[in-house]
């Protein structure tokens, strides 16, 4: 890591920290910044303290975790598939998760146990990952990422048909809940969810960050990667599985939040290039920060009503991305 890149990461970390404080300060109850900082540093008084520590902080932490995971998974899939259009959901994970979640809603499981929906979504996502992998393994010798991409796209399309089928049997209420889930929300955040997710996501994020050099080589080409000492098949399989599992957990807890995994890595690339040693950690930080900002808007823009955060990420992210794209020559 060069000094310049360390500085870039530091600036993103400061940005994310500032967004974290701002996101906690803003919300339905007006909290002065002073009270927020007091509560965060272990002091403060109720009710500000409870609001900050038990409501807004876990939600902000979830935003950072999910946003960081989506940003990172997007960057990894783009390198693995050598395709700038790849995003975390390109290989059908979101379709599988959505089938699980919609089934849970339509069949009313979520009314019996609050954990039924995320668990059903996770099972659906894991099923999608297994299915895509098995199709790809059967269609081609070795692990051909072009076949993987095709398998992911068709499996995703099939799952979306299943979702529409399920929804055609749904009551109006179930239809609405399923629709909202599919647009993404971080409202389910509490400390137990955040800690569980963190215990799962943090090791996966660390392992993917360690794959920066092999991913640099894979983005050059598989032959180059082999000749520069990479065990190509192992790196491809590991990065696919770990990134997919990362997305599966995020989507199970917060629904399908689009565009983060596409926009964030490209914003970094347009600013600072594609060296994955910088791109991967920067995508985690910017993804987390972007999600914090989007969730804050989702909570406050139409308060007391809450907007789906996936809608915000798309509405804000896409124009921002277009500006970046047209200003800079790739």
């Amino acid at each position: 890591m060069t000094a310049r890149n360390s500085l870039r990461l530091l600036s993103l970390a400061i940005l994310a920290a500032a967004l974290l404080v701002a996101s906690i300060a803003l919300g339905a109850a007006d909290l002065p910044l002073r009270a927020v900082l007091d509560a965060l540093s272990g002091g403060g008084e109720d009710p500000a303290r409870t609001i900050v520590l038990n409501l807004r902080l876990p939600r902000a932490a979830l935003a950072v975790l999910v946003g960081g995971s989506l940003g990172l998974a997007g960057a990894v899939f783009q390198a693995l598939l050598r395709n700038p259009l790849a995003e975390p959901y390109v290989l059908g994970v979101s379709g599988g998760a959505a089938v699980g979640a919609v089934a849970a809603v339509v069949l009313g499981w979520n009314l019996y146990a609050p954990w039924a929906l995320p668990i059903a979504a996770l099972v659906g996502a894991l099923f999608a990952i297994t299915l895509v992998l098995r199709i790809a393994a059967r269609a081609a010798r070795g692990f051909d990422t072009r076949v993987l991409l095709l398998a992911g796209v068709v499996v995703g399309a099939f799952f979306h048909a299943v979702i529409l089928l399920l929804l055609s049997f749904a009551s109006a209420d179930a239809y609405r809940s399923a629709g909202l889930w599919m647009m993404g929300s971080l409202a389910a955040a509490d400390w137990s969810a955040v800690l569980l997710l963190a215990a799962y996501l943090m090791p996966a994020i660390v392992v993917l960050l360690l794959m920066a050099r092999p991913l640099n080589l894979l983005a050059m080409g598989e032959e180059t990667a082999l000749y520069l000492g990479t065990n190509v098949e192992r790196v491809k399989l590991a990065s696919y599985l770990i990134a997919s599992l990362l997305v599966a957990a995020g989507v199970a807890v917060s629904g399908v939040i689009g565009f983060v995994g596409l926009i964030v890595p490209h914003a970094i690339r347009l600013m600072w290039g594609s060296d994955h040693q910088l791109l991967l950690p920067a995508s985690v930080l910017l993804g987390g920060g972007f999600m914090l900002a989007a969730d804050t808007v989702a909570r406050t823009a139409a308060a007391p009503a809450e907007l789906p955060v996936g809608v915000i990420t798309a509405l804000v992210g896409v124009p921002l991305f277009v500006v970046l794209l047209t200003r800079r020559v790739v």
Binding site: R82, N216, M220, G229, G273
Partner: protein
């Protein structure tokens, strides 16, 4: 002029799935240490396949390849990457990176996953870029280089590996005379003063004749001739393998390679 064999291959056979005939069949090869060895032959004669077998990207269905006395498959990829620098053909970076970032990849075999680049790594990168005359382009995006600059940057990456052996697949394809000559001069310098062994595939028979110590001529996957340029590049052999009438005349000089056989294809023949 050449030391003990670096690459040794015996009885190589390889067929691609679903192909009517093997891409390679019965190929033997011995590349002496510190020599420049050129593999030539018509399109589809198996040159690139042979390189991939030497580099372990493909596994032979019969026969064996060894590097420095050890079967290629028995080397770890990382140990092999510290020995052999390879310049494959036609790989495109999917995303924008600078020349320096790309050349720096040549040090990955030494760094592994976590290692921090040392002073030696940075020196190897700078020296390789200087040697290939791309140091002024270091901060430029790879996508904005010309064909010649790009090829030199790829060779710089291989040199940053500080390899004992350099393997190149048509390194001068689509380059103009000056850029092509620069690359061949560099390869000659590497084999001469640096003792690097060079194996390359090329379509330029006349430059192969002037620079290579030995040639292997492939024809439809089989060895048609092997030996010094004077042995391999005879009118009879070339006409038979390429199916075109040629004249072969010694290079008139000046230069250290005066007398090397030079091939001129004739017009109005066939």
């Amino acid at each position: 002029m050449s030391g003990p064999p670096v690459f040794e291959a015996r009885g190589l056979r390889f067929s691609y799935e679903g192909a009517a005939r093997p891409a390679l069949d019965g190929v033997d090869l011995q590349v002496g240490g510190g020599s420049l060895y050129a593999i030539i032959g018509p399109n589809g004669s198996g040159k690139s396949t042979l390189l991939k077998l030497l580099l372990g990207a493909l596994q032979p269905q019969a026969g064996a390849v060894s590097y420095a006395g050890r079967r290629v498959g028995d080397w770890t990829r990382r140990a092999l990457a510290q020995q052999i620098g390879a310049v494959p053909q036609g790989e495109e970076m999917a995303f924008p990176i600078t020349v320096r970032e790309m050349v720096a990849m040549g040090r990955y075999p030494y760094l592994g996953v976590l290692g921090r680049p040392s002073r030696e790594d940075r020196e190897a990168i700078d020296q390789a870029m200087e040697r290939c005359d791309v140091i002024e382009l270091a901060e430029r995006p790879l996508s904005r280089l010309s064909g010649g600059e790009r090829q030199r940057a790829l060779i710089a990456r291989a040199l940053a590996q500080r390899p004992a052996t350099l393997v190149l697949d048509e390194p001068t394809v689509s380059l103009d005379i000056r850029h092509e000559m620069t690359i061949f001069e560099l390869l000659a310098e590497l084999t001469g003063s640096d003792g690097v062994t060079v194996v390359l595939v090329t379509h330029n028979l006349n430059l192969a004749a002037r620079y290579a110590d030995r040639l292997l001529l492939l024809d439809a996957g089989r060895p048609a001739a092997e030996g010094t340029p004077a042995d391999v590049l005879s009118q009879e052999i070339i006409e038979k393998v390429y199916g075109w009438s040629v004249v072969v005349a010694p290079h008139p000089g000046p230069g250290r390679d005066a007398g090397a056989p030079q091939i001129t294809p004739l017009t109005g023949e066939g």
